[in-house]
């Protein structure tokens, strides 16, 4: 039987690994995640992450490890901090404004 390149005894570990390599960006590619990229750097990083998952690192510890080495550029999920507040809350604010204006129109 063929064997998985990355094998896990625990399905939650497989889920964690899959989630992390999809949400992290390859730092030397145009726009690929760590799962799709075939760059040697990425292959090495995938293996490192695999080992960390096997060693029971948590998601935040793995993210911390990768951003420490490559910066926040590699996060496809932009962190929620004061200078990304507009990014995360902007759409809802625009929606609220739109619905408010329409509500006013209905009342006329």
């Amino acid at each position: 039987m063929a064997h998985d390149i990355y094998s896990f005894s625990d399905p939650s570990q497989r889920e964690l690994f899959t989630k992390v390599i999809h949400e992290l960006r390859c730092s030397v590619c145009q726009n690929q995640n760590l799962s799709d990229s075939m760059a040697p750097l990425t292959v090495d990083l995938r293996n490192e992450i695999y080992e960390k998952v096997q060693s029971h690192y948590s998601e935040s510890e793995i993210i911390e490890f990768v951003t420490h080495r490559y910066g926040t550029f590699v996060l496809y999920n932009p962190p929620l901090q004061w200078n990304t507040a507009f990014l995360w809350f902007g759409p809802v604010l625009i929606l609220a404004m739109g619905l408010f204006l329409f509500g006013k129109y209905l009342k006329k």
Binding site: M1, N31, T72, P78, T84
Partner: protein, 637 residues
């Protein structure tokens, strides 16, 4: 000689574009009917010279004229003919010429089919279109000349077309996309002409709707092709990456849907005309923004075309001038269109307006996410990425209200409705929808996550609600044939969206991926399938060499498919490409992609089980069909 003829034609077209603005413009000022009417023949003349130029470039590719720099960079003597032709739009200069060529095509069509519209209005439309053409031709001639020569020492053979582009899907993807982008210039020109002319009504809403529907349908197919191409070509089974260039095409698509529906309000109920005009401007602005994003190299993406900062700056300036002028004009003239009509809370009008608010906000969210890394970098000098977790988190929730309202729109009436009566009509639809959403997945899966219930539920809600509307209408009118093209169009468009939503939901939740190390005659299991690695051989093609695997796909002991994934090395540029092998099916795809040969023997291989993935593109095609039907229906009136 031909390249020079091509360049000269382009210059002539450029002059005519300028004339198209100036002469009719003077005609408007001086109320000279002849000068105003000169727009039409000038449009035809401009189209003629642009066509000549386009054909000259085509000739250069077909004749392997490597003295032309653009041809040398994107083609090769051993390239199959069909790819030599499509290489014309494989790079920056040529795709711009294609853009201009298609704009001249749309403009010519407008000039030939709008004789019944008032002359001053049409004159203004042609002036606007002339200005757009002028701008793009200026850009082409000043920074992106496709006919630049490599004399006196020109290469014996070209650099070759990027192997990724040597593919059917990519041959027709750009022209279809551009038919969409460029097509939106028409409703834009109609909107500007209305505002400029100081009109207080929008009688052309009906015509704007047809043009927008046409452009929208082409854009839909173009985007679907891009997604389908990425799926089978890139090797990882993905069909949407929220890549900046994908977003650049998606944003105008979403706002175009909003525009199509507000045009209905403006046409049939004479309300929200100001909002419609604004949306017409926004859709084209997003098309231009898309052009800028793709070509300026400003965003890192798999698509980055242009590497010359001059081009980026020119496009940005052009974009700002066009959009700035349009929005300024709008801010002055929008007050001509204030409505005082009262609309009911429970009405088709409200359903449409609320849907368009959510659509526009979704598009704004995508714009925000796409541009934020740029702005963040400019302000803080830090690099930030915004990827699918953000886009999914903002886009999906905003689309849910739109999907909920979709069947309610047609079923509710214009004007006044009683909420209770509406829901009485739909009680059985709601019950059946909820039941199926929970039970249907159990036919092929073991669990039904909440996301599946929501996504599948919304899709079924639209399909069943729309079917109910169709049956009611058939009952009323007596036969299926009595259904208007508009009604059929709506049916396919809405149902198509539902099919797409169902496909997206099911494949996202139920797909299975396995990455394995496998040697000859070994097997692996995925979903209810058994895959056997039967054979591996060396292969050779017209411009590549490589390896080809043979895999057998079995389900419950019966063979369902033979798959032949390949790894190719293109000799000219030395690029390695993966050719995936897919067993397509209405209910599932089995997808195999060769990785790399392993030191210990055998290969690393990725195998995917993709349930209902084809529904995504089927849904898109249905939407395009719906758009074409509706456009056709309106045209005949």
């Amino acid at each position: 000689m031909m390249p020079e003829l091509g360049l000269f034609s382009l210059i002539l077209a450029f002059c005519l574009a300028g004339l198209q603005c100036v002469l009719p413009g003077l005609g408007l000022l001086k109320h000279n009917a002849v000068w105003m009417q000169s727009a039409r023949p000038i449009v035809l003349g401009q189209s003629f010279f642009i066509s000549v130029s386009f054909l000259c470039l085509l000739y250069a590719f077909v004749q392997n004229d490597f003295s032309v720099s653009y041809v040398a960079h994107h083609s090769n003597a051993s390239l199959p003919l069909v790819y030599k032709i499509s290489a014309l739009w494989g790079g920056h200069e040529g795709s711009l010429l294609l853009w201009i060529f298609l704009l001249s095509g749309w403009t010519t069509t407008v000039s030939l089919t709008t004789r019944h519209l008032p002359a001053p209005f049409l004159t203004r439309v042609f002036i606007v279109l002339g200005m757009i053409s002028f701008g793009f031709l200026l850009f082409l001639l000043a920074t992106s000349n496709p006919f630049a020569r490599l004399l006196p020492n020109y290469p014996v053979d070209g650099r070759d077309l990027n192997p990724l582009l040597q593919d059917f899907g990519l041959i027709i993807h750009p022209p279809l996309l551009y038919m969409g982008y460029v097509g939106f210039a028409i409703p834009f020109a109609f909107a500007i002409s209305t505002l400029w002319g100081g009109d207080r009504t929008l009688p052309v809403a009906k015509w704007m709707r047809s043009w927008t529907l046409l452009a929208f349908s082409f854009l839909t197919i173009g985007i679907a092709l891009g997604s389908w191409w990425a799926y089978y070509e890139l090797g990882w089974g993905g069909w949407w990456f929220w890549d900046p260039v994908e977003n650049a095409s998606f944003m105008p698509w979403i706002v175009a849907i909003a525009l199509i529906h507000t045009l209905m309000l403006s046409d049939k109920r004479q309300i929200f005309q100001g909002w419609t005009l604004l949306l017409a401007i926004v859709v084209f602005a997003l098309s231009l923004l898309g052009t800028f994003l793709v070509r300026s190299g400003v965003l890192t993406s798999v698509h980055a075309f242009a590497h010359d900062p001059r081009r980026g700056i020119f496009l940005l300036e052009f974009l700002l001038v066009v959009v700035g002028t349009a929005l300024t004009l709008y801010s002055f003239r929008a007050k001509n269109f204030t409505d005082n009509t009262k609309i009911d809370l429970i009405s088709r009008e409200t359903a449409i307006v609320i849907s368009t608010i959510f659509l526009v906000v979704s598009s704004a969210a995508i714009l925000l996410g796409t541009l934020f890394p740029l702005v963040f970098d400019a302000l803080t000098s830090q690099k930030l990425s915004v990827g699918f977790p953000y886009f999914n988190a903002v886009f999906i929730p905003f689309m849910i209200p739109v999907l909920l309202l979709m069947p309610l729109g047609p079923i509710s009436k214009w004007g006044h409705n009683v909420l209770g009566r509406l829901f009485k009509k739909l009680t059985w639809t709601i019950i059946i929808t909820l039941f199926l959403a929970v039970e249907l997945p159990l036919f092929f899966a073991e669990t039904v996550p909440l996301g599946v219930v929501i996504g599948l539920g919304l899709g079924l809600w639209i399909i069943l609600g729309t079917l109910k509307w169709v049956f009611d209408k058939i009952q009323m009118k007596g036969s299926v044939l009595a259904l208007s093209k508009g009604a059929l169009g709506m049916f396919f468009a809405h149902t198509g969206m539902a099919v797409l939503v169902i496909g997206v939901t099911l494949v996202s939740y139920y797909q299975i991926e396995r990455e394995v190390a496998i040697t000859l005659h070994q097997s692996l299991d995925i979903a209810e399938y058994k895959i056997i690695f039967q054979d591996l051989k060396q292969i050779e093609g017209a411009n590549y060499i490589g390896s080809q695997g043979h895999f057998l796909v079995f389900k419950q002991g019966k063979k369902e498919a033979d798959l032949f994934p390949e790894k190719r090395i293109f000799v000219v540029q030395g690029l390695r490409m993966t050719e995936t092998a897919i067993d397509p099916g209405f209910f599932r795809d089995i997808y195999i992609s060769l990785g790399e040969p392993l030191k210990e023997g055998g290969w690393s291989v990725r195998i995917y089980y993709k349930p209902f993935v084809r529904w995504i593109w089927l849904g898109a095609l249905m939407m395009a069909l719906g758009g074409f039907l509706s456009a056709w229906g309106r045209w005949l009136k």
